[in-house]
C-alpha cells in the first residue's frame, strides 16, 4: 500500500464516520405561521352546515362535560336541565336569551355558532362572532382589574400573552345573567384559554373555567376551529324576532302575521 492509498483510506473512513454520525435534528420548516390566528374560522366539526369539512383530518374534541357545580347548585341545575328537556320533548320549548335577541357573551361566543373572525394587531387580538355581531377584545400583556373593580359585561375583560406558540388568555368580569350551559357563576369566575395553531387550517382552544364559589374544581373542554378561507363575514342585527316568550308560560311562541 503506497502513501496515497493509505491517506485515501483514512479520508474515506472519516467521511463514512461523518455520514453515519447522528445528525442534529432540524425542525422542519412549517408551511404556516404558528402564531397567526388571523382570518375567518368555522367551529370544527360543524354539526350541520355543509362547509366541506372532513372530520377525519383533526380529532374531534370530546363532548363538553357538565359543569362541576357544588351540590347546592347542582341540584337546581339538574332540575332545570330536566325541565328544559321535558319542554322540548313536549314541543313547547322554553324561551331563551336568543328569543330576546341577547347575545351569548363569554365563554359561549367562542363555540363559534356561526363563522368567527380573528384580527391580530400589535397590542390586541380581536375576535368577532358573526352571530349577534359579537366583538371581544383581548389586550396583550394588560393588567386585569381586581375582581371587585371589574365592571361586569357580556365579554368581560381579557388579557393575553404568548407562552412559546401558545396564546394564553385570562378573562374576568362576566355578568351574572350571561351563562354558558345555564351554569350559574359568581363575579370571581375566571375563564382561562390556551389557543394553539395545530396546522395551516386549524387551531384549538383549551378552555378552563374556575369559580371557587360555584364549582368544585376546574371545568375544562376543548374547542377546535377550521379555517374558512376568503369568507366575508355577514352583519347580524337581531332586528325583529317573531319568536317571542309567552308572558304567562315563558314558552317560546311564533308571532303570526295574518296579512
Amino acid at each position: 500500500m503506497n502513501r496515497h492509498a493509505g491517506w485515501s483510506l483514512v479520508l474515506m473512513a472519516l467521511l463514512a464516520a461523518q455520514a453515519c454520525a447522528p445528525k442534529k435534528a432540524e425542525a422542519p420548516a412549517l408551511a404556516y405561521d404558528p402564531k397567526d390566528f388571523g382570518g375567518t374560522w368555522d367551529r370544527y366539526p360543524q354539526p350541520t352546515e355543509n362547509s366541506g369539512q372532513d372530520p377525519s383530518v383533526v380529532p374531534r374534541p370530546e363532548p363538553i362535560p357538565a359543569p362541576p357545580l357544588k351540590p347546592e347548585f347542582k341540584a337546581p341545575w339538574d332540575a332545570e336541565q330536566k325541565k328544559i328537556a321535558a319542554a322540548n320533548a313536549a314541543g313547547e320549548p322554553i324561551a331563551t336569551g336568543y328569543t330576546h335577541c341577547i347575545p351569548d357573551g363569554m365563554p359561549a361566543m367562542m363555540m363559534a355558532m356561526f363563522p368567527m373572525e380573528v384580527l391580530q394587531t400589535p397590542k390586541q387580538v380581536t375576535v368577532i362572532q358573526e352571530a349577534y355581531n359579537q366583538v371581544r377584545r383581548i389586550y396583550l400583556n394588560d393588567t386585569l382589574p381586581a375582581v371587585e373593580d371589574a365592571e361586569p359585561g357580556f365579554w368581560g375583560h381579557s388579557t393575553g400573552k404568548w407562552e412559546g406558540n401558545d396564546f394564553v388568555v385570562e378573562t374576568i368580569g362576566i355578568k351574572d345573567n350571561v351563562r354558558f350551559r345555564n351554569a350559574p357563576h359568581s363575579a370571581a369566575m375566571r375563564i382561562h384559554e390556551r389557543m394553539r395553531v395545530i396546522d395551516a387550517d386549524h387551531f384549538e382552544n383549551d378552555v378552563t373555567v374556575e369559580d371557587p364559589e360555584y364549582l368544585t374544581g376546574p371545568w375544562s373542554w376543548k374547542w377546535v376551529y377550521q379555517r374558512r378561507p376568503n369568507y366575508k363575514m355577514y352583519e347580524y342585527v337581531c332586528e325583529d324576532n317573531r319568536e317571542f316568550a309567552d308572558p304567562v308560560t315563558g314558552k317560546a311562541r311564533l308571532r303570526i302575521d295574518h296579512k
Binding site: 354539526p47 350541520t48 352546515e49 362547509s51 313547547e92 352571530a131 325583529d240 319568536e243 302575521d257
Partner: protein, 146 residues
C-alpha cells in the same frame, strides 16, 4: 340494529344542534306539509328570514287558503346555503315543505322551497331536511337526500 345506531347518532347530532342555537321543538318535524301559493312578503333579516305565503295543500281539495308565517334560518346561514336576499319576491308563486306549529296556527318552519324558475333550496342544516317530496308531497324514503 344499524338503523338504531343511526337513529342514536342522529338524536345526538340533533341535541347538539339544539344546544348550539335554539330549539325548533315548537314545530312538528314529522307531520310536514306541502303548500303552494303566493308570496305576500319576504323579510330578509336577523335572527330569522320570514316568508308570508297565502297558500294551501294542493293535494287536498278541501284545504282552504291561509296566510302562513314561515320561519327560515338567518341571512348568514341562507347565504352559505346558496340563497340570495332577493331570490323570492312578493307575488311569486312558490311551493314549500314546512314543519307546522304544533298549536295548529298557520305558522311553520321551512324545510325546502321551490322557486318559480324551478330551483330548490333547503333551509340550512339546523332546520332539518324535508320528509315529503316538494314535487308531489309523497313521503321521501327514510335517509333520502332531499
Amino acid at each position: 340494529m344499524k338503523s338504531r345506531i343511526l337513529m342514536a347518532l342522529l338524536a345526538c347530532v340533533m341535541s347538539t344542534v339544539a344546544l348550539a342555537h335554539h330549539s325548533f321543538a315548537m314545530f312538528d318535524a314529522e307531520k310536514q306539509l306541502r303548500l303552494t301559493g303566493k308570496v305576500t312578503a319576504f323579510t330578509w333579516q336577523n335572527p330569522h328570514v320570514y316568508i308570508q305565503l297565502e297558500g294551501k295543500d294542493p293535494n287536498d281539495p278541501k284545504a282552504k287558503v291561509r296566510t302562513w308565517t314561515i320561519e327560515c334560518a338567518n341571512p348568514g346561514i341562507l347565504n352559505r346555503a346558496g340563497w340570495k336576499f332577493n331570490m323570492i319576491k312578493k307575488d311569486d308563486l312558490i311551493t314549500v315543505i314546512v314543519g307546522p306549529l304544533r298549536t295548529g296556527e298557520p305558522g311553520a318552519l321551512l324545510k325546502q322551497v321551490k322557486l318559480p324558475d324551478g330551483r330548490i333550496f333547503g333551509n340550512g342544516g339546523p332546520a332539518g331536511p324535508p320528509n315529503i317530496s316538494i314535487e308531489d308531497g309523497k313521503p321521501l324514503p327514510a335517509g333520502a337526500k332531499p
